[in-house]
């Protein structure tokens, strides 16, 4: 291009610019003249300059310009008549561009309706509303918009204010962000707290379960353990938490150590997990058992990197297991050693356990089980009474039906003994924890020896009974004999007494009778002699008859007890033996202080007295006592009748004193004494009359004392 051309063009452009300025000036003047504007902007070399027209309004304009809000005056249709620089900044447009343009063109299209609405309503109400302005430069600005009606040069105008909310928004955003951060921190705190709690819970769980975790790194040989291991391994300080593998292996019980290390060596990527048991000798010397479950990890080359896991102290469990095992062993040895047979049957009636005693008796091999029905079928089983016993009655089956069988007896010819055995069975159901029957246990005792002994005993008893009966009969016979002897002895005594009583009258009677013949021969027989002789004969006969009656009464057994006078009974007895005693020159004296009565058998009582008197007579005669004497005293002591019979025969030696009442005890020769007299007396007084007979030595003889 040529300079000329350029000049022309520049000139043309200059002219055009000037023309535009002119037109602008003319327009401005017109606007001023019509009152349409009250300020205008002049662009000069120093930049655009605004020129206001009304000098009186200057202070307000300064105020408006220094306001932080954007402010504008609008026509009623929203055209900008004037705005301050703040608004121009907000809209990022030069003031001169803004004036004369419609304000809503800078409002975000979404807010235009509400903006228009507010503008339209502004004469009526003016409240603030948040809208978004769209500046020419781009970023939308949130503002608080308010408007009010005002008169501009006699026409309705609108004042608009825009408060920039960006700072507030930023603060709000900042606040929101701060809040968010705070809440995140809180969350984190909470989470870490929970983590701690969970950690503690785990530690607690480890402690309670007597477990500890471990983490071993073979490369460094470092072992990390949870704190719970301190108590389990009896370690204190850091050693509990941080240890070396080498150190730990040394703690393992020597018998378990090699196996444990070998097991670790054999770990490989395809078999990285393990569970094992081993013992540890703690520093305090106590051996504990650990159960350890671990998991190994390997690097890409297959080298062992880490082993982590949990070890649990199972000493208590081990102890319990050992005790259980011991218990089981004991029970086993008990069952095996017991002489009784023990049979465990399951629900189907199969013996699952039989002790050696049972196996032996039935010749069972080691291979149990044996079916109860099968076993029963192979044997003949009898009830105790000898009748066949059906298998349903067998104790194991009864127990399976829930019965408790006590001392059921059975007779079986068992294979072992080959002979009939008497067996006593006790059986009861075996229940599980819920009380359900799961089997039965039967205990069998061979009671054959017992039964045999029982039979023997019964036989023996029967024999014994027979012998006792025989002996009793013999004794009874002997007693009867004794009684008979005693009676005969008494009879003998009595006959002797009668002989004494009769000898004299009988002799006299004989003489009287023979006189008749003599007198007749002499021729002196006359009535007087006959009368005298008959009279004296009858006298003698009556006397003899009375003697007989006395003895007969005396010997008549008492039919029943009766009340009798002791003195009379004794006087009677003494009269019977009077002649006998008189012949021996024995003096009998009866002193009756009282006259007691006794309810009992009179003749028996007299017999007892007689025996004692005879005894005294014999002693006096045998010892040839000078002036022999027997004294009988009768009295009452308390409510008892007492009779004492004392002699002066010198007494009884003390060594035989306690034997004098024994039967057959006598100091006399066989023809003189039966040894029954005093025994009978004692029996009569004590057994038949409930009294007491005792003897004691006195000064010159013996005294018998009868209390009834």
């Amino acid at each position: 291009m040529t300079a000329e051309k350029k000049a022309v063009k520049e000139l043309l452009a200059e002219i055009e610019e000037l023309r535009l300025h002119l037109e602008e000036a003319q327009e401005t003047l017109r606007a001023i003249g019509s009152g349409e504007v009250d300020a205008f902007v002049v662009s000069g070399p120093e930049g655009p300059q605004v020129f206001t027209l009304k000098g009186a309004e200057q202070p307000y304009r300064v105020l408006v310009e220094t306001m932080n809000e954007g402010a504008a005056t609008l026509t009623s249709d929203g055209t900008i008549l004037y705005c301050n620089n703040r608004l121009a900044d907000m809209l990022q447009s030069p003031l001169e561009t803004l004036i004369g343009t419609r304000l809503d063109s800078y409002v975000a299209s979404s807010d235009r309706a509400i903006f228009a609405d507010r503008l339209g309503k502004c004469p009526i109400k003016s409240d603030r509303v948040e809208i978004v302005l769209m500046p020419a430069g781009g970023n939308p600005i949130s503002v608080l918009f308010s408007c009010f009606a005002m008169e501009i040069q006699g026409a309705l105008g609108i004042g608009a204010l825009f408060a920039d909310m960006r700072a507030q928004k930023e603060i709000e955003a900042l606040v929101r962000q701060t809040q968010l951060q705070a809440s995140i921190a809180e969350e984190r705190e909470l989470a870490s707290c929970k983590l701690r709690e969970s950690e503690e819970r785990m530690q607690q769980a480890l402690r309670v379960s007597r477990s500890f975790t471990f983490d071993w790194e073979p490369a460094t040989d470092q072992v990390l353990r949870s704190e719970s291991c301190a108590a389990i391994l009896a370690l204190s300080g850091d050693e509990a938490f941080i240890d070396s593998g080498r150190n730990f292996f040394q703690r393992i019980h020597p018998e378990d150590r090699d196996r444990f290390i070998r097991m670790l060596r054999e770990l490989n990527p395809t078999a990285a997990g393990y569970t094992t048991e081993y013992r540890v000798v703690r520093v305090d010397g106590i051996v504990i058992s650990l159960e350890e479950t671990g998991q190994a990890t390997f690097d890409a080359d297959g080298n062992l990197q880490r082993v982590v896991g949990v070890a649990t102290d199972i000493s208590a469990r081990k102890l319990a297991e050992e005790q259980l095992q011991q218990e089981r062993d004991r029970l086993d040895s008990l069952i095996n050693s017991i002489q009784d047979e023990i049979w465990f049957a399951d629900l189907t009636g199969v013996f699952t356990l039989v002790n050696p005693a049972g196996k032996q008796e039935f010749s069972l091999g080691p291979e149990v089980p044996t079916d109860v029905l099968q076993l029963a079928a192979s044997l003949e089983v009898l009830r105790p009474d000898g009748t066949p016993r059906p298998v349903e009655e067998s104790p194991p089956l009864r127990a399976l039906r829930g019965e408790t069988v006590i001392n059921q007896e059975e007779i079986i010819c068992t294979p072992f003994s080959g002979e009939l055995r008497y067996r006593q069975v006790n059986a009861s159901p075996v229940n599980d924890a819920q009380g359900k029957i799961i089997g039965s246990v039967s205990v069998v005792r061979d009671i054959t020896p017992l039964k045999k002994a029982e039979f023997e005993l019964r036989k023996l008893n029967e024999e014994l009974e027979a012998r006792v009966a025989q002996r009793t009969a013999e004794l009874r016979d002997k007693d009867q004999m004794l009684l008979l002897q005693s009676r005969q002895a008494a009879m003998g005594e009595m006959i002797g007494n009668i002989a004494h009583q009769w000898r004299q009258p009988l002799n006299a009677l004989g003489l009287v009778v023979q006189q008749f013949s003599l007198i007749y021969d002499l021729g002196e027989l006359n009535a007087e002699f006959v009368k005298k002789s008959v009279s004296s004969s009858m006298e003698l006969i009556k006397h003899m008859s009375k003697t007989i009656d006395d003895f007969r009464n005396y010997f008549r057994p008492d039919k029943e007890k009766a009340e009798f006078k002791v003195r009379e009974a004794i006087a009677n007895t003494v009269s019977l033996i009077g002649d006998n005693f008189k012949n021996q020159h024995i003096n009998i004296e009866v002193i009756a202080k009282d006259d007691p009565s006794i309810f009992g058998y009179r003749n028996e009582f007299a017999q007892a007295i007689l025996n004692i008197l005879n005894n005294a007579k014999d002693a006096l005669k045998e010892r040839e006592i000078k002036d022999p004497r027997v004294t009988i005293n009768i009295c009452i002591e308390g409510d008892r009748a007492v009779v004492t019979i004392a002699d002066n025969a010198g007494g009884i030696p003390e060594e035989i004193m306690r034997k004098i009442f024994d039967p057959y005890f006598t100091t006399k020769g066989p023809q003189d004494g039966t040894g029954i007299g005093l025994f009978m007396s004692k029996a009569i007084i004590e057994k038949n009359m409930g009294g007491r007979l005792a003897a004691r030595n006195i000064a010159d003889g013996v005294e018998f004392r009868i209390e009834v």
Partner: protein, 144 residues
């Protein structure tokens, strides 16, 4: 009867019996049978012995069982005084040997008559005693 036909030597007889009625009967009988005999009676051994000492009887008829002094005891004493005295014992005891044994001097009682007394036995005993005494007396006189 017999006694009447044969003249009796002077014979003295002592009768001892504790039972009075029996003694009375015996006295009655003996005096009836032997009216010539001098008869003395006693009711026990001791009075019998006194009488014997006084009259020295040839024959003593005595009971055994008597109070004060029994027949055996008295017999012993009489035997000591006059050994040839004849004894006729009247006893309730049956066993004659026992009675003989019971005497300390083992006196041979000439006759033992068990009660109840039979006249024939008693008379026979007395007769025998008298005969023996008579023989003895005649032997004595022959000797003289």
């Amino acid at each position: 009867m017999e006694s009447k036909s044969n003249p009796m030597p002077s014979i003295s007889l002592l009768l001892v019996e504790d039972e009075e009625f029996t003694l009375e009967l015996l006295v009655n009988i003996i005096t009836k049978k032997y009216p010539d005999v001098a008869l003395y009676t006693a009711i026990n051994g001791s009075t019998g012995l006194e009488l014997f000492k006084k009259h020295t009887s040839d024959i003593v008829i005595t009971d055994i069982n008597m109070p004060e002094m029994g027949g055996v005891q008295m017999a012993e004493k009489i035997h000591a005084i006059k050994p040839g005295t004849k004894f006729i014992v009247l006893t309730g005891t049956c066993d004659k040997i026992d009675l003989r044994d019971s005497t300390k001097e083992r006196i041979e009682f000439d006759h033992i008559i068990v009660k109840p007394v039979e006249f024939q036995e008693l008379f026979a005993a007395i007769k025998q005693c008298i005969e023996e005494i008579s023989q003895h007396q005649s032997f004595d006189t022959e000797q003289k």
